[in-house]
Symmetry: C2
Subunit: 359 residues, 2 copies
DNA sequence: TGCGGTTACTGTAGCGGTACAGAAGAGACG
DNA sequence: CGTCTCTTCTGTACCGCTACAGTAACCGCA
């Protein structure tokens, strides 16, 4: 049986192809009698409905949007509860619009296939990618409606971010207020250099790490504190190395600010292994308010961001951008910045006399 | 500036449209000189490359595959580490093939859009869906290459499953061997009825829950044990209700078999809240060997399945199915069944005299 | 009875590519 | 020098659908 098309059905019923098309796509354009007859004939012929690819070409819309994840972040995206909640929120927000979500990686296929260039879609979210990855370049060149998330905002492109800087500042200020003077920072980056960092602002770190670093320094510098900074891989697998670099020293910090809760959990573990009690000997602050943070013992002091809201906002911004694009409307790109909030739990306390010997 | 197409570029360079197409898609078909010139002209005109939608129509391939998740499982898919690892493994396995992964939900959009029917793709994975959801029907009618995962195998459709039954049997046997006689089962299902279940095999539960139930009963029945069965929602949010139904009774079980580690964790928590010690007063067994299981205190006895291998196998089966489909080859559908393995940790122990009063 | 306004259907002209068969020219070879 | 084979480029015929501008019939109304 050859594949059935609109024409097949049209011939069978004795109407024009256009009428069959309308039967499927614009029911109000024909009498319900005829429509019934056409639908029956279609079912009879095994015609499922308009071919999505052909329809996409003719209509100029595919019904799917992409989300670009760096391939480094791919594994990460599915192992970190923060990233998965974000993706889940997007999917959930998109579902009622009928748009499917396509996962785009920055990797290249065998025949030089680049998803960001070669997959049909109506728009895309760019999530926490390095500023200039080839995949992102393709998306931009294609002039697809885009939304940047956790990414340096660019003019003309809507963006969704959180108050990384002020959140980090609050976290650092909290430590300062508790009386800490020797503070360590454990941050993360997609690429190196890893280990002890001399100039925390050198190198081109991703947006969120950079903003948080700024925030931490805002508060620390004002208090005259110069933190010890260690950078490690974004994968939480080998947190211990970074943590040890910070803690297993002559004069270890009395408090550590971490890029994420996952990293903070690793620090707590390492500290425990080294015989340090948290928070008595070491205060630890995370970031994100991962569900993990509340479950941990001691429960983690952290900076809350609402990833579900972030996902929703991103999805909404994207659908809006697609609509604008379709209508040819210009409209200024909105840059959304969601609030963050310090959540004080049990992993922070004033330094003890012993651990903070008056410098 | 009007949109550039192959023709635009062809006119500019003074060659045929076909040659420009070849310059992009089949570089070996023209001299590298001319190719250079064409690519330059294209860049100049802002032509990014062949339009994916048009190419999909002409070639009959889109470069994307779908994964169907019930919308109930959508939120679930992104909150359970087991599901996300699975998705991550698929994405990772797919990346080098250049195929993108499109998330399909069973929900329907505003204009009656059904992703499973209306999104162009080359094949799809069906993950743990109810047997006959409309979305799945559409996929089948479209005659897309499919692979079933954690789903009742169907003739002609490749499938990937794990040894749910024998794994569950081993778990139950472990409890029997420890001497437990009063055993509870806490299982999950996408739809009700929830609560105490008279006939654990009644209703049409999904494949995995059914197979595990069979396995548990295999071992329990042989030992002459009739378990108390409680079913609850697949969402781990409200585990406590189910756990309490089991534990907060006149003669509570001395051991509980759980559908997943997430549920088992909930049971442990509830038990603790009720003043029961695990494993002294209550043994708990999970399923999956979620990373969570090893982290928990007490570390959870569970049945390990390798979700990463499952994801890989599913992706491989799908690409194979797509290839067969393209080549018109028939080939029998392979049904893969991955092993499971009982992992004994610290959440199981013999019943104490007190908790198991000789019946 | 004539006329504007609906409703129901049709025809044409694309959407932007790719497959495939072929044509033209350039060497290679006997 | 004729023929054969390559390489390089071209022309045609789709892929399957939709937008849009008709046309024809029908309806109510003055």
């Amino acid at each position: 049986m050859a594949k059935a098309t609109l024409q097949t059905v049209a011939d069978r019923v004795g109407v024009s192809r256009m009428t069959v098309s309308n039967a499927f796509s614009r029911p109000d354009q024909l009498s319900s009698d005829l429509r019934r007859k056409i639908l029956d004939a279609a079912a009879d012929l095994g015609y499922v409905g308009p071919d999505p690819a052909a329809r996409a070409l003719a209509r100029g819309a595919t019904g799917a949007v992409g989300v670009l994840l760096t391939n480094s972040s791919l594994r990460f995206a599915f192992s970190d509860e923060i990233a998965t909640s974000f993706l889940g929120a997007i999917a959930e927000e998109l579902a009622p619009t009928g748009l499917a979500l396509t996962l785009l990686t920055t990797s290249t296929g065998p025949a030089g296939v680049v998803p960001a260039r070669d997959v049909a879609m109506d728009g895309a979210l760019v999530y926490s990618c390095e500023a200039r990855t080839p995949a992102l370049d393709w998306l931009i060149r294609r002039r697809l409606p885009l939304v940047f998330v956790d990414q340096t905002p660019a003019p003309g492109i809507p963006s969704v971010n959180v108050e990384d800087r002020s959140g980090a500042r609050a976290a650092a200020q909290h430590l300062v207020d508790l009386g800490h003077r020797r503070v360590g920072i454990l941050t993360a980056g997609a690429d190196g250099p890893y280990g002890l960092v001399a100039d925390p602002f050198a190198g081109r770190a991703a947006y969120a790490p950079r903003r948080r670093m700024l925030g931490w320094h805002d508060a620390l510098e004002r208090a005259g504190i110069r933190p010890t900074v260690v950078r490690q891989s974004a994968y939480s697998d080998r947190v211990d190395d970074g943590a040890r670099l910070l803690l297993d020293t002559e004069e270890p910090p009395t408090a550590v600010l971490c890029f994420s809760d996952a990293i903070a959990a690793g620090v707590v573990r390492s500290a425990t292994d080294l015989g340090l009690r948290v928070p008595a000997d070491l205060s630890v602050v995370g970031f994100d308010d991962n569900p993990l943070a509340a479950r941990m013992r001691p429960a983690l002091t952290t900076v809350r961001q609402d990833v579900t809201a972030k996902g929703r906002a991103a999805a909404a911004a994207l659908t809006a951008a697609i609509e604008r694009h379709r209508d040819g409307a210009a409209g200024r790109a909105r840059h959304i910045r969601l609030p963050t909030e310090l959540v004080v739990r049990d992993s922070t306390a004033p330094p003890t006399a012993m651990s903070a010997p008056g410098s």
